[in-house]
């Protein structure tokens, strides 16, 4: 009976909790049971907070029983990407350098989740410091794609996407610097939205690249992402880059979804060469459905997008090299004392040598180089100019389209280990998601079906002008409804039964 609870959307579960048909302790326990059953195969979590989750759930049940007015999502379990600092729960950002660190404070999004009464199940796996597209750069081992355990779940937020796709949590928090919410959603058949830059507080999100990072929702339905976004969004005086806008209800935008007359601009540069045929097939099918529902499909050009990856791989490591300087062993985290002692510089150096993984070191070196005297103008300076050009391209495109659309990523999930030796090809996987981060605009990935050639999930990405996140929820919800109407079921209902595959995997020694 309780296992069914894990198949519910957050919205449906919330309704059962509100009507007291189900208790939060029951719902939480069901998810903890599911985690226990599938984690051996999936490894979506770095920390499962069973005790505190059940205590939080019991508290919600008690308050509900006492007749307290609770938030509609109170008592619903949630998974938290380990990039977000959580009081009382270890926070590592996927790195050995923070192993065992329990923050003394909560990120603003955590404060908001707690205030709304959501129950934190634990912390999800990710590429170290969110640097990667596969979770293979996690210092704690990769997460496996629930659709095919030998494949990547995307990254950096592969843990959150896999947890949601594997029914370990109804929804989760992710973070997106160059696609870390949207690309995992694409390869796991889930929904993920990167809000407008400044739409959600970054306070307490361990920074990768401050000018690109955004926290956002990951879920199985568009409505659940919207509901979660409504909880975590809004101005935070602790984040200077947080917008002071009063945001509309995103859940309302989902409920009022209508694409009639909506101008959808297909990004010319983000299709064709390098895009898998099965990905393009689902993409075109989705466009046809939207057109059938009254949307106006046009084509737009973003000429600077071809330089976006190059610019991104200068700006992101530049900011990261500075953001990661604080990991020096003096105040928190790992400390490695060199043999025979040494100066504080020696200790810092030994700690960073041992505590950081190869990809992190690669990006620190790249970024340090890009900011160095004599190179700054050519690298960081030029990259910022490209960023301005990308922003201008988007502004021009949005003059002729309400939303833009592209496949979320060029291919379906690749195999674990397939690209770890080839960083450049790994970086290219983010070609369609990176431009939104450079421009600060919102983007959503919503499932478009399975690729014919490999049977793996494909996502479609919609982009909107800054502050128009609601528009994305509308178009994504409309497409979701059209597709599910066509299929007669949700996409994730077709995902493998993991309690079974776990057994297989264990038998085969694949995990």
């Amino acid at each position: 009976m309780t296992s069914d609870l894990t198949r519910l959307t957050a919205d449906a579960l919330a309704a059962k909790l509100a009507s007291k048909e189900v208790s939060s302790v029951e719902a939480t326990q069901a998810h903890l049971d599911r985690i226990a059953a599938v984690e051996g195969a999936v490894h979506a979590f770095l920390h499962v907070a069973s005790d505190s989750a059940l205590a939080e759930a019991a508290d919600i049940d008690r308050r509900r029983a006492a007749g307290e007015q609770l938030h509609p999502l109170a008592g619903v379990p949630i998974a938290i990407k380990d990039v977000i600092v959580t009081k009382g729960m270890p926070t590592t950002s996927g790195s050995k350098i923070l192993e065992g660190w329990v923050p003394p404070y909560d990120a603003t999004v955590m404060t908001k989740l707690r205030a709304a009464g959501l129950v934190s199940l634990g912390k999800t796996n990710m590429d170290e410091f969110a640097m990667g597209s596969s979770t293979e750069h996690s210092a704690y081992g990769p997460t496996h794609n629930p659709w095919d355990l030998e494949r990547i779940p995307g990254g950096s937020g592969g843990g959150s996407a896999a947890a949601v796709a594997a029914f370990e949590a109804p929804f989760a928090l992710g973070s997106d610097t160059g696609g870390s919410i949207r690309q995992p959603a694409h390869v796991t058949g889930t929904v993920g939205l990167k809000p407008t830059y400044g739409g959600v507080s970054r306070y307490g999100a361990i920074a990768l690249a401050s000018s690109l990072d955004q926290i956002g929702p990951v879920s199985r339905t568009v409505l659940d992402s919207a509901l979660l976004h409504d909880v975590i969004g809004g101005h935070d005086p602790r984040d200077s880059t947080s917008l002071t806008d009063v945001w509309p209800s995103f859940a309302e935008a989902v409920r009022n979804a209508d694409v009639a007359g909506l101008r959808i601009g297909v990004i010319k540069e983000l299709q064709g060469d390098g895009f898998q045929p099965g990905v393009m097939e689902r993409f075109r099918e989705a466009l046809a459905l939207l057109e059938g529902a009254g949307a106006i499909i046009t084509e737009v050009e973003l000429p600077s997008v071809e330089h976006a990856i190059a610019a991104y791989y200068l700006i992101m490591p530049a900011e990261a090299s500075s953001n990661l300087a604080k990991f020096d062993s003096v105040r928190f985290g790992l400390r490695v004392n060199p043999k025979g002692g040494g100066t504080v510089e020696d200790v810092m150096s030994a700690t960073r040598e041992q505590g950081f993984g190869a990809e992190t070191k690669r990006r620190i070196i790249l970024g340090t180089y890009a900011l160095s005297a004599g190179y700054y103008d050519a690298y960081y300076g030029s990259a910022q100019k490209v960023r301005t050009l990308v922003q201008r391209d988007f502004a021009a495109a949005f003059a002729n389209a309400d939303v833009l659309v592209s496949p979320t990523a060029p291919t379906t999930a690749f195999k674990l280990g397939e690209k770890t030796g080839d960083p450049l090809s790994m970086y290219l996987n983010d070609i369609a998601t990176i431009p939104a981060n450079l421009a600060g605009i919102p983007g959503i990935s919503v499932p478009a079906g399975l690729a014919a050639e490999d049977g793996l999930p494909v996502g479609i990405q919609f982009l909107a002008p800054a502050r128009e996140d609601a528009r994305l929820y509308g178009v994504a919800a409309a497409l979701e409804a059209l597709l599910e109407q066509k299929w007669g079921h949700t996409l994730l209902s077709q995902a493998p039964d993991l309690s079974f595959s776990e057994m297989n995997a264990t038998d085969e020694g694949a995990v």
Binding site: V85, P103, P104, Y203, I206, P237, S240, S322, F332, S372
Partner: protein
């Protein structure tokens, strides 16, 4: 011990070229980028938040009051205020720097292109060009334990107190200063003193050098003089002297560096570009770390903060609220107080102008306020080796002057009362009461003493009655002695003449 060249000889051979970086800690309630109290005494690592510790995930938020203070200071320095200024990260690893970068301002400071008029002790007016004033955060404080010197070399371990991390600073950077010539040491002192006056006048910092609220890094280089008609020699290599914690040290450090560098250059040596550490006790500088223009801090715009865009209205509001500039104020006061050039110069050099202003405001006449501060109080301070301002308050001096003016105290008694006030015995009135120092103004007691003195000196009495009033001196002296000095001599004289005629023959 470094070889030094005679100062006058050094000036014959070389032209001193100066530059100053003055850091001012702003007295805001909270820190530059966090809501921790802006207070770094007390238990180490208590006035801190995740932001001050640079904990993962924490973000800075600019303190609006610090921005207003910085704008006011920029305006007081005659600077232009940037319509848009930006914070930048200055990246370097050091354990007192929680994030291993300092949030500062690089090529877009909040204030730029100003000047400060400075008056030297010899009356020379000098305009110091200001390149910029920018906002930044202070670092934590390191304590090196286990070494003999308390410095990092030889220490076994070091402790970090992050209470000071994030304290708001404004750094004022001068342009290169030419033409100070032999006045260079005095100019340095006068410049820092003027900056201190400006900052105190604005009320934006405690500006106590001994507490590090105001810190001066003094850059100096020597340029060899060339015969007339020949092109000037290129600028020399500079040193940057740090740890200069008093106005006197600023002057001494500059003089020392001129003599040291001149000796090296004259011997055919070269100056190493480096920081120099000033030692107050020995009056010397020692080599710090090498500093090259190529130090690479990898500055880039701070992505966690938005540009600072003060509205023109705010800038005008702050401009309108600026107090009078110290130089202008000095000229005004000199006229108002009717001081001679020499008197005002003495007062300026004593660094006690503000005390006199406050004493006058508390009711004393300018002349008596100046007399007490530059006289007895300054002498006592000098003897005790302390700052005159720590001994008494302007209010206490004004009260003392009032007692003298009222005839309650003679100058001699007043000095004793001052001594009591300095010793912490209370207000001047309390000291007068406790020590019983008041002038005897009870005519009855005086008359009794006078009558007795006159009667015991009949010959004197006779002379007075004959109109030889100067003979009264002997009686006055006797009376004053009888009253143990606690009488007003003028009043005694009046009464002696009165009693001489009143007494029965």
């Amino acid at each position: 011990m470094a070889k030094l060249m005679d100062y006058d000889r050094a000036l014959e051979l070389f032209e001193p070229v100066l530059g100053f970086e003055v850091h001012i800690e702003l007295s805001t309630k909270t820190k530059m980028f966090s809501d921790a109290p802006n207070y770094f005494g007390g238990e180490p690592n208590t006035n801190i938040t995740p932001v001050d510790l640079g904990l993962p995930g924490s973000l800075p938020v600019v303190n609006g009051q610090a921005v207003r203070y910085a704008i006011s200071l920029g305006l007081a320095l005659g600077c232009s205020i940037a319509p848009t200024s930006r914070f930048a990260r200055k990246n370097y690893f050091y354990p007192d720097l929680a994030k291993n970068y300092q949030i500062s301002q690089s090529d877009e400071p909040i204030a730029f292109a100003g000047s400060v008029e400075v008056e030297l002790p010899n009356g020379r007016l000098f305009t110091v060009p200001i390149e910029r004033a920018h906002m930044e955060e202070d670092a934590g404080k390191l304590t090196h334990v286990g070494g003999a010197t308390g410095r990092i070399q030889g220490a076994e371990y070091s402790l970090v107190d992050y209470n000071r991390a994030g304290v708001p600073l404004v750094e004022i950077v001068t342009d290169i200063i030419y033409g100070a010539e032999a006045d260079a040491p005095e100019l340095a002192k006068a410049y820092v003193s003027t900056i201190r006056d400006i900052v105190v006048g604005l009320g934006i910092s405690e500006a106590r050098m001994e507490r590090g609220n105001l810190r001066c890094d003094a850059n100096i280089s020597l340029r060899r003089r060339t015969p007339e008609g020949e092109p000037p020699a290129p600028l020399g290599t500079r040193t940057e002297t740090k740890n200069v914690n008093s106005l006197r040290s600023v002057e001494r450090a500059i003089r020392y560096e001129i003599q040291r560098q001149a000796a090296i250059l004259d011997d055919g040596g070269t100056i190493t570009q480096e920081t120099r550490h000033w030692h107050e006790d020995t009056g010397q500088t020692s080599a710090g770390r090498p500093k090259s223009d190529a130090d690479d801090y990898r500055y880039f715009p701070e992505p966690d903060l938005l540009p600072v865009v003060p509205s023109p209205e705010l800038i005008e509001e702050l401009r309108a609220a600026l107090p009078e500039a110290p130089a202008i104020r000095r000229r005004r006061l000199k006229t108002e107080w009717n001081f001679t050039d020499l008197e005002f110069q003495d007062l300026t050099n004593s660094g006690l102008v503000n005390e006199v202003i406050d004493t006058v405001a508390a009711g004393a006449s300018p002349a008596s306020a100046r007399k007490w501060w530059t006289g007895e109080i300054a002498r006592t301070a000098n003897a005790q080796g302390v700052d005159a301002t720590t001994l008494v308050t302007p209010l206490q001096v004004a009260q003392l002057v009032a007692l003298v003016d009222a005839g309650t105290l003679t100058d001699r008694l007043a000095r004793q009362v001052l001594e009591g006030v300095i010793a912490g015995e209370g207000t001047p009135q309390q000291v007068v009461d406790a020590r019983g120092l008041a002038v005897v103004s009870d005519d009855g007691a005086l008359i009794a003493a006078i009558d007795e003195a006159l009667q015991s000196q009949p010959d004197v009495l006779a002379k007075i009655r004959d109109g030889k009033v100067q003979a009264a001196g002997a009686v006055i002296g006797a009376v004053m002695k009888a009253m143990k000095g606690q009488a007003d001599a003028a009043r005694v004289r009046e009464l002696v003449l009165e009693r001489a005629t009143a007494l029965p023959e």
